[in-house]
Symmetry: C2
Subunit: 318 residues, 2 copies
């Protein structure tokens, strides 16, 4: 998560709070600023007092008064260390198209202009897609992803796959632990892809929502968690009934239908829980929640779902 | 993919091409426009000739000449029917913070201001994450995803899962078709989660890159495809060697190690191929490529990988 330093520009219009609208307009004549839609207002000591849209200054042209009438009590600001994604989210939330950057003392350092915010939004978009898919790469790299030589792509894509492989080998050990049950009931193996697929799919949905949703949603974790557990249970119920019905019709083993139904219900509920808790935990310790949505959550969901499936199978089918 | 209509504003500064910079500045005094960083330039018949940054107009204040000197030969424009994601991509590519909207005849209709473009970029970001995870929902809905009641979430999330379930039941039939082989070699079942996981994971990586990458990458499909097939083969080779090695150490069945290695290599190569071809095909017929990256591709990859795994197993192990 890069900070905003590389996007800060000093080349923006700055005015004193004591200036009149006419003085601001007059001062802009003959100068060329990078962004001119917004004027940043400072006091005599370069402390930022706020930003004023040039539209408002033009509207007040010819009237009495100073920029003080436009200045907000607590201006929205960012710090050079602010994460670029956080800055872009702040701008959208506050309906601003540029953000003033201040130091620890509130001194004006420059601004994030609209085109920088737009670029950040696009970069973070592509980066999130990649993170969700388990691709380890910086946002700047992402644009060239489809034209890099395969050996370079390997370097970005293999690391998370190796974690996934390690997790899959753990899943292999889980299944192997139920060899006796499996030998007696080979039909159990037929539904392994279904269990793994559904746990992954349901969990990935929650992760995709949580990755950006956590920062946008009001309310504490408890309420969010309850909602997702409820959703997982509802989804699980629908899928469990359908899968169990299919089993009854095609294979005709009532015991297996029970095992399948209960396992799917449990797997879906666990998948939404992990899908929400893992990104939440990542964001709590300051990591990008998108990193939690890659193979770590998937593999955890796979292993737990298979454990449930075979435990229930061993209990029901013997 | 909504069009840009709801984002168009007419409330932007418009000037005649014959106006001088001073005349433009004078005309803005006392008016309040929504966005004032950019002035749109029209001829006498309201035909759009281009856009000029107010910064450039201020820089030329007091000089001779008209806006004609700033106007581009072929201005970048969008149409009311333009997809909002395409409009935002165009703005980023052309380094513009607002886009003029024209009708079929080139008549000026209004503009997409920077805050609309920023909102579109964020909406499409969240929407892509959801599509990749198989959540059927409009971009406008996405913000409330974590606070909606579970029954409403079910409606957005179940449709793709049902397609996924149908595909999984197909995978079940595939595995069931190899019951004889499986009964003889139960160990084969241990590695089903691994085969399914790796095919999914490798394919999802390609889809995530392809969803936004296809529109950004130069070069034809052939070159992109070759690159992804090469990447899939390289990734497959690494994972195949590791998984086969693990099998030899833990289970000690050389035949199974061969089956596993060859299957993983084939599954990874197929996964990258489908992961690229499906989004590409979707975008060719005008659908959102992100839709192709949900359960359709995953289930296709699962079924093909399991077919390969069991065909090779039947051939090698008998």
């Amino acid at each position: 998560m890069p900070d905003i330093r590389r996007h800060i520009t000093r080349d923006v219009p700055v005015a004193r709070v004591s200036d009149s609208p006419d003085a601001v307009i007059a001062a802009l004549r003959g100068t060329r600023h990078h962004g001119v839609g917004t004027v940043f207002v400072v006091d005599g000591g370069e402390m930022l007092l706020g930003q004023v849209r040039l539209a408002d200054i033009f509207a007040a042209a010819g009237t009495e008064g100073t920029l003080a009438q436009f200045v907000q009590a607590a201006p929205v600001t960012v710090h050079p260390d602010t994460d670029q994604e956080d800055a872009a989210s702040l701008a959208i939330r506050e309906d601003l198209i540029s953000l003033p950057v201040v130091d620890d003392n509130g001194r004006f350092l420059g601004a994030l202009p609209p085109h920088a915010l737009m670029q950040v939004l696009r970069e973070e978009h592509v980066e999130d897609l990649h993170r969700l898919a388990g691709i380890w790469r910086s946002a700047e790299d992402a644009r060239r992803a489809l034209t890099q030589p395969p050996t370079l792509r390997l370097r970005h894509r293999l690391p998370w796959l190796l974690i996934g492989l390690a997790g899959s080998l753990l899943a292999t050990r889980v299944v192997a632990g139920f060899e006796a049950t499996l030998s007696q009931h080979v039909t159990l193996a037929f539904f392994i892809p279904l269990i793994v697929y559904l746990a992954d799919a349901v969990g990935t949905q929650t992760e995709a929502i949580a990755v950006r949703g956590l920062s946008l949603s009001p309310g504490g974790l408890g309420r969010l968690l309850l909602g997702e557990i409820g959703t997982g249970a509802l989804i699980g119920l629908c899928l469990a009934l359908l899968a169990a019905g299919f089993e009854r019709v095609v294979f005709g083993q009532p015991g297996l239908a029970t095992v399948l139904g209960v396992s799917i219900l449990a797997a879906c509920t666990i998948a939404t829980t992990i899908g929400l808790l893992l990104p939440w935990a990542f964001s709590r310790v300051g990591w990008d929640p998108a990193l939690a949505s890659g193979p770590i959550a998937t593999v955890l969901q796979d292993v737990l779902s298979l454990l449930i499936y075979f435990f229930i199978a061993a209990a029901v089918l013997g």
